[in-house]
Symmetry: D2
Subunit: 404 residues, 4 copies
Amino acid sequence: MDFGFDARTEELRERLLGFMDECVYPAEDAFEAQAAESGWAAPPLLEDLKGEARSRGLWNLFLPGEHGAGLSNLQYAPLAEIMGRSPMIAPAATNCAAPDTGNMEVLAQFGNEWQRKEWLEPLLRGEIRSAFAMTEPEVASSDATNISLSIVRDGGEYVINGRKWFATGAMNPNCAIFIVMGKTDPEAASHRQQSMVLVPRDTPGLDVRRGMRLFGYTDSDHGGHAEIVFTDVRVPVENLIGEEGGGFAIAQARLGPGRIHHCMRLIGMAERAVELMCTRTLARTAFGRPIAQQGVVQDWIAESRVRIEQLRLLVLKTAWLMDTVGNRGAHTEIQAIKIATPREVEWILDKAIQAHGAGGVSQDFPLAALWAGARSLRLADGPDEVHKRSLAYRELKKYMGDRS
Amino acid sequence: MDFGFDARTEELRERLLGFMDECVYPAEDAFEAQAAESGWAAPPLLEDLKGEARSRGLWNLFLPGEHGAGLSNLQYAPLAEIMGRSPMIAPAATNCAAPDTGNMEVLAQFGNEWQRKEWLEPLLRGEIRSAFAMTEPEVASSDATNISLSIVRDGGEYVINGRKWFATGAMNPNCAIFIVMGKTDPEAASHRQQSMVLVPRDTPGLDVRRGMRLFGYTDSDHGGHAEIVFTDVRVPVENLIGEEGGGFAIAQARLGPGRIHHCMRLIGMAERAVELMCTRTLARTAFGRPIAQQGVVQDWIAESRVRIEQLRLLVLKTAWLMDTVGNRGAHTEIQAIKIATPREVEWILDKAIQAHGAGGVSQDFPLAALWAGARSLRLADGPDEVHKRSLAYRELKKYMGDRS
Amino acid sequence: MDFGFDARTEELRERLLGFMDECVYPAEDAFEAQAAESGWAAPPLLEDLKGEARSRGLWNLFLPGEHGAGLSNLQYAPLAEIMGRSPMIAPAATNCAAPDTGNMEVLAQFGNEWQRKEWLEPLLRGEIRSAFAMTEPEVASSDATNISLSIVRDGGEYVINGRKWFATGAMNPNCAIFIVMGKTDPEAASHRQQSMVLVPRDTPGLDVRRGMRLFGYTDSDHGGHAEIVFTDVRVPVENLIGEEGGGFAIAQARLGPGRIHHCMRLIGMAERAVELMCTRTLARTAFGRPIAQQGVVQDWIAESRVRIEQLRLLVLKTAWLMDTVGNRGAHTEIQAIKIATPREVEWILDKAIQAHGAGGVSQDFPLAALWAGARSLRLADGPDEVHKRSLAYRELKKYMGDRS
Amino acid sequence: MDFGFDARTEELRERLLGFMDECVYPAEDAFEAQAAESGWAAPPLLEDLKGEARSRGLWNLFLPGEHGAGLSNLQYAPLAEIMGRSPMIAPAATNCAAPDTGNMEVLAQFGNEWQRKEWLEPLLRGEIRSAFAMTEPEVASSDATNISLSIVRDGGEYVINGRKWFATGAMNPNCAIFIVMGKTDPEAASHRQQSMVLVPRDTPGLDVRRGMRLFGYTDSDHGGHAEIVFTDVRVPVENLIGEEGGGFAIAQARLGPGRIHHCMRLIGMAERAVELMCTRTLARTAFGRPIAQQGVVQDWIAESRVRIEQLRLLVLKTAWLMDTVGNRGAHTEIQAIKIATPREVEWILDKAIQAHGAGGVSQDFPLAALWAGARSLRLADGPDEVHKRSLAYRELKKYMGDRS
């Protein structure tokens, strides 16, 4: 057992920390100002930052194998944490932003040669963005068997009808391709009914209708969260990813690394929050002494540190398990980090906000927006409660044999 | 001891419930659609609803004494709860919306005849709106002695310089008058340094600069939360409310009833959330049964009921104490409701959101916006922690005599 | 609505407070010392205190109607709170201790004339104690239909076989009579299977086997919590309380007032804990100042006050509802106080313990023993979770009509 | 980074697991029965188990260096967890029980040759037990400068006067030697005032007065928690450990490994609790289905797993830091595990108790006693709040430079 990072990780951490200090943090104010003007498109500054990141060798770090930087989950995880300290900029600048990351993984792992050439390559070059359309407004999508968008084969095409929402990134006009999950065979066994197809944005019948807000935020800087209506949308059968009925399996494969990324970025946000909480409370005085001297504030700071340390270790161990025994062997841990991380980071952000006074809930500090992101992740890819039930069932199963 | 409402309260509750059912709830969708178009002004629908409320005798119910409906705090409290079920519409439609309520109370109680005629009367008629400017960006305003906006007498005028933020309602172009708290005598005893003055919106040097957001929300439908810069703003000395050095006392007097109103409205929001949580989870199915049959969801529902019942009783008792022994005798309770209500209602809203899935955080349900309001109230007029410390000090004081 | 106590309540509160100050608190140390010596019997001091209480007119206050003091639930509740401040002594000294209180209520309401003469009268005079045997070790007794002790009629007798545990008070050799719940008709509808019978302690076949401990405490001063084995125990049919199949209904009727008593006593314990927390932290110094000046300790004190005020109001309202609309109309509230009170008081006791340092968990302060009592009440007459589910179901039911 | 155990650890884990299965678990009932009869002495069974453990090479595993098994903290930690699954037996049977472990560490590290021969050797052989006397009843001992027991040099002797309590193990008649912390120089700098001396049990003037209870438990099986009065107790100056004024430094050095042991044992208890919670709720039925199928119970089980995984990683990392950078470099983590572990394990035990119904709080399951142990650890070697404040201060210090 060894809790130190390996040399490659250390080297990349250094390089990334340099990029953050020299390029990302100094750009935050200007980025936000541009975002307020740029509608659903990314702020223009982003392209400069992408160029810079690429030239520094900080590009596609998330992607294992030949198409990407070739890092293991355990190597990439601490880099994702660092990016999470400036989550509006750093992931996008390094081409490591969701949902493109998961979509590129899917294409790299399950896409055919044509799909990889057509869509994976421009994504890897950072020329286009992509979206992933799974959740539906009309059903409890946490139960994937509820998903009802219909994908019907008609000769050499699939015909798609249905409605999706919370397709992150899809409001961005530069988002060129959607991976869409739907039902190809309602009669098949429950885990073989779904398939995934690629649908280009300009396909007739596809209507990107509106951006869903998260606690008032449009998240326009990273393309929002779209509601999309599909009316007789036709794509060639070559757009099927993998095989018919394989949608559920692909979705599962897509989950693991994404969870690591999300959770490590959240931990980065939490570290940023602790820093802000400390500097703000040291700088402000109430009732005759710095707010940082209030016992309750110190309790928040200590609690934040205690919680962050535990979360980080759990996520890193999960990454290690994924690298060594695979997603299936890390099933419990992958659920555990999804349960623990958003809620604990939400708690930390809440306290940092409280320590800031009224300013904390406003646009003058990043905390409220980060909070909304963390809170929303308690629902993303299934509410925590669904994961807890499944985790408990696996725990109980260990003892069920005793009774037979 | 008697937990039943008196006859007048029951009669007004019936009348108000009728107004909610017949006019307010049916208008919610249209109101929200108008709000999205109307910038910082109130949606046009509001004027119709005001007319209707007035004709039904549901007008200025909050205001005791001759100028208003003459209800006691205990009589008005359950009405505020009902209004809270549709907090964007009902309070404004009945001319019972903050911050006008508190401002009207101040003018009724401390204003001179001219001030009442000039400002209280149009406010009572619902013709103009008002704002209250106390919190400052540069200091921890929870410690009122930190407040630094300067009010300097110069002949027959006061000259005002400084900066305020989170002046709720001030972005509304119809908001015609500001009550501004500032320092008239930095040399006086700490509670005699502040004064309040009336500053009309169109006074030269007053710059309503921008709306502060609360978790992404502009709250434009009720006039936002403005940052205001005062540069050599001059008002006649007649605009002083009460006496020089009386600002702190007026602020204290203003607090009590406002707390009751805020807390009862929050309880109304919580009741609405429970209703939404029940109907949504009864209507949606996951994993083979309605979500309402999940044990964890039932736990949330039961907890919500248990918490609401306790909160309501505490707020009602506080109102009763204010009516019978005055603000000073109700000091502990006025702090207790401020500590308990926002956070418990926040908890309930969080669970209702979670029970809604992704939709819960979006604009398609009122829950996320209500949450942002409840959360922000944990900071409004001082973070909870300040009130807890003060309350604890009073508790400890009971036992300090033992040691002398 | 009126939050003041009536004149009779005020008068009795004064009288009881005097008894506490003059007789109960001064006796605590001696009482505890005697308890350590007296085995399962009550400390001898108790008889003196009973005589004193009786002579002061503080006797059987819990019992409504002609047999007792004739107080309403709302009048008795604040007296139970005062008794709860010294829960080992005050309830027993005033003949208001569980489980006798519930048992006397049952006999007064459902007993026949012979039963009342034989058992109620000596109980009312405080000459004997009694126990209530319901919970069974072999089944989840929260589901009353699981209860399996068998009561079979054989001519003029009932024959009883089975096992009970947690029969509070039964280890006391002066505990002369047990009310035993069991199954008389396993074929009847689920709520008509159970009956209650009176079983004198000296009946052959009845074996009071051992005292169950609660977190290490025997509770010997109030007769412990016995496991009892019934082997062919025979009692005359006259010992049936009410009618065959009526056991469930009697159990329900017994619950309401008992909940009020338990919860109010818990609130009294909480008040005592706050007092101890304040005096201890004012008197002890760490790191250069009294512990009472630590922000976190002040937070605990404030929280305790905020929670106690809410709990008390909820319990008082429940008592008022029971008096005005009956147990059935107060169903939600009776469950709500059972859910909220033990856990909140447990929280307060935990903080008071923590504020005491190591001494807090020991026998030198009453806090740890009070904690064990409060914690155990989260399980007594059904774990909280059972009550929450039932409460939630009633809440959901309001909205089920909407779907038909 | 590598989350797997090394070969030696794996081998010892296997061996220890075999011992648990073959010797410890089967002995639990008999051990408890003997403990109820053996007063303050250890149950006779213990000697057999010690012989067995020793013959299996499971002896003094806790002790690094030549005197013990020579394991690192990281190697020993997972073994301590396994022992924690049966905390009354396994640590004592393997001569790895507190407070002997810490005392042996002190003697090995700071003792002179004579002290090691006289006291360390019989301790290592398991022939005698020892106690550590630090906490005092009259002061808030969390602030070590408060400690007031006086140690005055008089010629070739030290004369000791004062009072200690919560000296764990000291009630055991076989506890032959006490390490006593006291003040040798009240005029020295605050961290140089204290010294530690060895006091044999039979020294005149030493009065082991009574056992302190923890939530009703005497903990007699492991020697209780004694209050000890020192009246003119004289020991030769050779009994000083290390140097005069070195007491504080020794206490600090003693802390780190002990925290690891305590926390890992707590994690073992938590694992045992989860096992009991699962098997009990699978075996019991209420309202028509196994309790394990209740959503709320599943939530507890999942939460327990999520929390345990985080805690274990944090403690293991702390052990690794202590091995690689020393106690000082692991300061934050050593505090963090002390803050997090007892309270999270307390939470898990509470839920396991609740899932057991009334039996859970009784002597029929180990849960309530384990709970009392975990709860008391929130106070042992300083309440959590003291550690949090210190941890927060270190966190804040990182940012204090920014202001100068």
